[in-house]
Subunit: 199 residues, 2 copies
Amino acid sequence: MEFKEIVMSRYAVKKFDGRKLPASKLNELMELIRFAPTSFNLQPYKVKVVSDQKTKDLLQKASWDQQQIGTSSHVLVFCADTNIAALIDKLEGALLKSGASEESIKGYVQMMRDFEKSMDQAQKLAWAQKQAYLALGNALNGSKALGFDSCPMEGFDPKEYSKILKLPGNLVPTVVCPVGYAADKPRPKIRFEAEYLFF
Amino acid sequence: MEFKEIVMSRYAVKKFDGRKLPASKLNELMELIRFAPTSFNLQPYKVKVVSDQKTKDLLQKASWDQQQIGTSSHVLVFCADTNIAALIDKLEGALLKSGASEESIKGYVQMMRDFEKSMDQAQKLAWAQKQAYLALGNALNGSKALGFDSCPMEGFDPKEYSKILKLPGNLVPTVVCPVGYAADKPRPKIRFEAEYLFF
């Protein structure tokens, strides 16, 4: 499917039909998310994948009872990771393991550490959340590319989500993306005119 | 091009070859950005399109002198729009103009107004910026889909950008995306393992 067709046919599904995605499809989607663009290659987020009905029902209650959650195949909960320092260590380790010399990555690692030190806790969260939205974009377009559907959702209670999913303090539920097969139909896309949006 | 190929071959270009994109290609890219997923259909951002060399050179100086800017064909400056209330009015007008009845959109419009009122200025900016990143995602994948290249950039001085581009106070430069034809080669993508990223 051409990217333009993906962009134009993707929509925010309000109800799924409950069918389960094949494991192979879900794995393909995860690869598309994993290789999303990400600043410094740092991927300051993790994605909780929920498939059991009981947990989905709890999440739905913490999401204004929106049925996209309960009727989906899987719910992806994009969690910003505010422990940026640990991610820098992890990335440095991965680079060294991949064969890079300490000398060759020194400047890059220092740049990341300086960036991390320049942010307070709120700024770290805001930055990580923006990165999570880039990954979300690949989840939304990727679902359509792979032949199924999705819905980006901001209407949920992050604190309730943290409790239900027993998340550690550094992982902040940021945006939710149920995926599966649509049981509704798209409405025409409403967008501002190009002459307004671009200037 | 399949979406997977787009995702795997796209990379952050460090130097472009200076060639200009045909206007038709740029227009196609703008349509892919315009139809990016966006919360409430509100598109709380505008995109400044810069093609003249003099302005690009000024922007490069305000971007740690990174040559992606000056060597690109066009620079897209994604600006978050913090005047959410005005956007809600604009969207309401567009919906009525498209034939929707006032009654049918009343609940939707009220939901947006309540959402807008629930946020302080910093929260409005943070929300609009996250939405801008969804649009950025389509710019990055869209460029590759259309046969050219791009680079997402956070390393720039938003205040300097505001001055150079004479932006009104409600438009906050959030992320920059030069586009054009690459004059460098991609390096292997480094990403955390799936077993870590998904849990």
